[in-house]
């Protein structure tokens, strides 16, 4: 194994969970109040300059792409300072100068076309025509940021020289000021900028790295044509670039950790959130954007790496049109590589339906699975999450900037909306039209939720726009439009959006089906009895709970559940588009319909009562677009068919975990079967998939809770069996086969 790959793998496995980029904290602490008198843009640029002048710039002898950050476990004294800093700033990222919570994307083609010097010249020339003080400060700040970056790159050039890496040093000297000319220079520049963002600036380094197969292709093809670069050399550079992303990856769990591995926002600078890189997809004419470089970036994916997450933009027919690429991607997917697939045909349709006209084909996805319009859009939540307050700002305005009205960062509690509808319906004693009335009541709750959300967001945006040049964030330095307007993108981007997720989708669908099946069709229970049982967490009524649990489920390709899924998602998305329209026309603001709930299905589940689908109080909900665990009784094809009952172009994001046992699709034949299965799903309009091979842990968990793992299939010998249906002896046998 190459030393760089080994080092990255080791970092992922052995880096101490509480390891922190201490230099960042210490240096930020030095200058915490040094620039308090300056407007924020200058406070930001000078703080960043101080950081970049003083942080370590280490180089290893095997670095092809240069740029590392240092992190360490803290001693008692350092810990004291660290805690004091957090107490002062809320978390280790804030300095009063830095704003933003990751989830941003840069105009990477702009960066590699102009280089740092070119971007600086543009800002200077814009500054020369500006008279407004706030805008001048904004542009001046940007100029200083470019200078800070140039100096930082030069410091690395010196380190490289000292380490005897002459070629790397020459590349760094070049891109410190000038636009890159070669593939290696361009990739080097991309990495340094990503490093600055992820290690030193952002709160949550979920940076999107754009479409490198597109924006780096001119460099690659030029180099190949001139003989300056071979395919193998390009692969080595890309692999090293991937390694670097893993070195800045923290361990631990920022969302669902326990006492031992929790690394919340206030703790880490080496965060466990990854960066996102998009490959393949279509261009503005709707034609394939796949090129040779797409294949190289795919080939270089190391399955054991966590970072970056490769988002493959599938488009209908890609499997046949680019057979070799599809083959590579499928191999990597079946090795549980950190990658996911989105369907261009769906995401683009959603954006077009909203009325987005520019940059539709350059859409991206941020972590975790949040769709974005690309460089011309700002995600309301993911961008600068607390826009700088101005002295004259009212308390009311501050409340909007702080999101004081939001219950959760993402929409939650839809099962609660369903239950409220159920309870009301139970009191109405209807003789007929029960299901229609339930639907009506549920949708009324949903509409209320959504309309309130967008009206709040609109208020927040209005507050931001009152003083758009007040804030400069790193993202602005890499967006043409921000420099042209001298306004922060979070206030002035062409589009502003926020995900509007149909939360607990499968639980809601299953709840409708359970009422339909048990109350209306089978008449096994009355509505009142059902409502009462759900309210009481099915206490003393295990029979009813199991009847609900074993009713038809979304994910089994049943006609009733598919029909409810379609009806619900259609009503939901129609409303999201309808309610967004006036805001879109006025402010470019809209809600992006989605099925994404991140990992909140666990947290929210913990806080929620029982649901009609037989879920007990406190148990997790179904995650994102995925059916509830144990619902996919007709295998992957049944699950895909259920998902396909969600009409194409309804939602722009929503993760579908596809868990497969590597043995079910082993060897060349298995690869062929799996590739075909997934391509068929996508060609039929499937939105998303992320593949993991079933782990031994899942099998052990299945033994303890068989009902939740009914869709877990294992290869027995010449056929497949449902794992939990196998006798204990055989289960143990299969588990033993999965031993590492």
């Amino acid at each position: 194994m190459k030393p760089n790959v080994y080092e990255a793998e080791q970092a992922l496995k052995t880096k101490p969970i509480y390891s922190t980029a201490y230099e960042r904290v210490k240096l930020l602490n030095d200058v915490m109040h040094a620039y308090d008198d300056l407007p924020q843009p200058l406070k930001f640029s000078r703080t960043l300059a101080y950081l970049l002048e003083n942080v370590s710039v280490p180089v290893k002898e095997y670095d092809l792409i240069v740029g590392r950050a240092v992190d360490k476990e803290l001693n008692a004294e350092e810990e004291k300072l660290f805690q004091a800093f957090i107490a002062d700033n809320g978390n280790a990222y804030r300095s009063g100068a830095f704003f933003g919570s990751g989830h941003s994307s840069y105009e990477w083609e702009y960066i590699v076309e102009l280089g740092v010097g070119g971007m600086k010249s543009r800002a200077i020339s814009r500054l020369s025509t500006e008279n407004d003080d706030a805008k001048r400060a904004f542009l001046q700040g940007a100029v200083e940021v470019y200078d800070a970056i140039s100096s930082y790159i030069l410091r690395f050039a010196n380190s490289a020289k000292q380490a005897g890496l002459a070629a790397q040093a020459a590349r760094l000297e070049k891109v410190a000021f000038s636009a890159p000319e070669t593939f290696a220079e361009a990739l080097q520049l991309v990495w340094i900028i990503a490093l600055i963002d992820c290690a030193y600036v952002t709160l949550n380094p979920t940076l999107t790295l754009g479409r490198p197969d597109v924006f780096l292709y001119p460099f690659y093809s030029r180099d190949i044509a001139s003989g300056r670069l071979t395919r193998e050399e390009a692969k080595e550079l890309i692999t090293d670039y991937y390694c670097k992303h893993n070195l800045i990856m923290g361990r631990g769990e920022h969302q669902l950790g326990d006492d031992k591995n929790s690394t919340t926002f206030d703790r880490i600078t080496n965060f466990d959130a990854p960066q996102y890189l998009l490959l393949a997809g279509t261009d503005e004419k709707g034609e394939s954007a796949v090129n040779e470089l797409t294949e190289l970036f795919a080939e270089c994916i190391v399955p054991s790496f966590k970072n970056p997450v490769v988002v493959v933009r599938y488009f209908i027919g890609m499997d046949k049109k680019h057979e070799r690429l599809w083959n590579i991607l499928m191999r990597k997917a079946l090795q549980s590589s950190s990658m996911m697939f989105y369907n261009d045909n769906d995401v683009i349709a959603v954006l077009k339906r909203m009325g987005v006209t520019e940059g539709v084909h350059d859409y991206i996805h941020f972590g975790c699975n949040w769709a974005s319009t690309g460089n011309n859009g700002a995600w309301m939540w993911g961008g600068p999450s607390s826009f700088a307050f101005t002295p004259e700002m009212s308390e009311e305005d501050k409340k909007y900037l702080r999101r004081a009205y939001m219950r959760y960062p993402v929409d939650m509690g839809w099962e609660g909306i369903f239950n409220a509808a159920l309870y009301q319906l139970a009191d109405e004693n209807l003789k007929s039209g029960v299901m229609d009335r339930l639907f009506e009541l549920f949708m009324a709750g949903v509409k209320d939720f959504i309309s309130q959300k967008i009206s709040y967001l609109s208020r927040e945006l209005t507050v931001r726009q009152k003083n758009p040049s007040r804030l400069l964030v790193l993202t602005d330095c890499f967006l043409r439009e921000s420099i042209d307007s001298a306004e922060c993108y979070a206030a002035s981007a062409k589009y502003h959006f926020e995900a509007s997720s149909f939360q607990m989708f499968a639980n809601v669908v299953d709840s409708f089906v359970a009422v339909d099946e048990l109350v209306i069709r089978k008449k096994s229970v009355t509505l009142k009895e059902l409502a009462k049982a759900v309210k009481n967490d099915f206490k003393d009524n295990e029979w009813l709970r199991l009847a609900c649990k074993n009713a038809e489920k979304f994910g089994s390709d049943g006609e009733v559940s598919n029909a409810y899924a379609k009806k619900l998602i259609t009503a939901f998305t129609d409303y999201v588009f309808e309610v967004s329209k006036p805001y879109f026309e006025k402010q470019g603001l809209f809600l992006m319909p989605s099925l994404e709930g991140d990992t909140w299905h666990i947290k929210c589940g913990r806080e929620s009562g029982a649901s009609v689908d037989g879920r007990r109080a406190g148990e997790p909900f179904a995650q994102n677009a995925r059916p509830s665990n144990g619902s996919c009784k007709n295998g992957l094809t049944g699950m895909f068919n259920s998902l396909l009952s969600v009409p194409g172009g309804s939602v722009a994001s929503g993760a579908l975990n596809v868990d497969v046992d590597s043995r079910a699709f082993s060897g060349e034949e298995g690869l062929k079967n799996f590739s075909n299965l997934l391509a068929t799903y996508f060609n039929a309009g499937g939105l998303h998939a992320q593949v993991s091979c079933v782990s031994r842990d899942d099998l052990l968990a299945a033994q303890l809770d068989p009902d939740s793992y009914r869709d877990l299939r294992v290869r027995v010998t010449g056929y497949s069996g449902v794992f939990v249906d196998l006798c204990r002896e055989l289960q143990d046998d299969v588990i033993a086969r999965m031993d590492p």
Partner: protein, 257 residues
């Protein structure tokens, strides 16, 4: 006697090429001691009872909702099977289709004949997994592939463990070989019963002598039938899979052509 279907399994990647829907027929004239689908031996409707799932709700008569009491064996009209099969039709494009299994599909010849015709009319690839206890030319010549087991070469042992003549099965396979339909021959390998090299070598030689045999494969024993037999109120002897070393050695006889 009406044909009962035990269950239909979708998205199988093990019962023939590509992604397949497998129809399990209820009823089989053989009585292999290690049968992995003991619920498919009887031709009658049966009930499987899993006591660990029973909550003693006393509602057995109106239908158990807990999965403790499961009825096995349904009359499903051919048309309905085709409808289920067609739900996954788009996934069959990589060489997949339907596999008729069981139980013994050839023991349900009139239903199976009708089903095959209906599937072929829809251009769906049809494979049959059969013991070849009989030679049914009408059915066998129609299907796209045949998968048959040659379990034990020794006649006496075959009679003892399978319940019928192995020679007759091989005769039927030889006849089927003349039909020009691709054949897969398989041997379930059970420790101490048929995992001796001579048995596998003879079977492999037999398979390779067949003109239309495209594959010979070994299927190591698994105890999948034990739990189900218990739920049916029967006891099934637990056999063992061959040792890893033995199996590795025997694998040299597998072939694909």
């Amino acid at each position: 006697m009406q044909t009962l279907i035990s269950h239909i399994e979708r998205c199988s990647s093990f019962d023939g090429p590509g992604i397949r829907t497998v129809v399990f027929f209820k009823g089989c004239p053989l009585s292999c001691k290690w049968c992995h689908n003991p619920e498919c031996i009887s031709f009658e409707k049966e009930e499987l009872f899993y006591p660990e799932k029973c909550i003693k709700c006393g509602r057995c008569q109106s239908g158990c909702v807990t999965g403790a009491r499961v009825v096995c064996g349904r009359i499903i009209p051919v048309h309905d099977v085709v409808v289920t099969v067609k739900r996954d039709e788009k996934y069959y494009s990589g060489g997949g289709g339907v596999t008729l299994s069981g139980g013994e599909p050839l023991a349900h010849n009139s239903y199976v004949n009708e089903l095959i015709d209906a599937l072929l009319k829809e251009n769906i690839d049809v494979a049959i997994e059969t013991s070849m206890f009989k030679y049914d030319e009408e059915i066998l010549k129609k299907v796209d592939r045949i998968m048959a087991d040659v379990k034990i070469f020794d006649e006496k042992k075959h009679l003892e463990y399978v319940g019928i003549s192995g020679e007759k099965i091989r005769d039927n396979i030889l006849k089927a070989d003349l039909l020009g339909v691709p054949l897969t021959i398989r041997t379930p390998i059970i420790k101490g019963i048929n995992d001796d090299e001579q048995n596998v070598r003879l079977t492999a030689e037999f398979a390779s002598s067949l003109k239309n045999c495209v594959r010979y494969e070994l299927l190591p024993y698994h105890a999948m039938g034990v739990n189900k037999a218990r739920a049916l109120g029967k006891e099934q002897k637990v056999f063992s899979a061959p040792d890893a070393k033995t199996l590795e050695n025997l694998k040299k006889y597998q072939f694909t052509r």
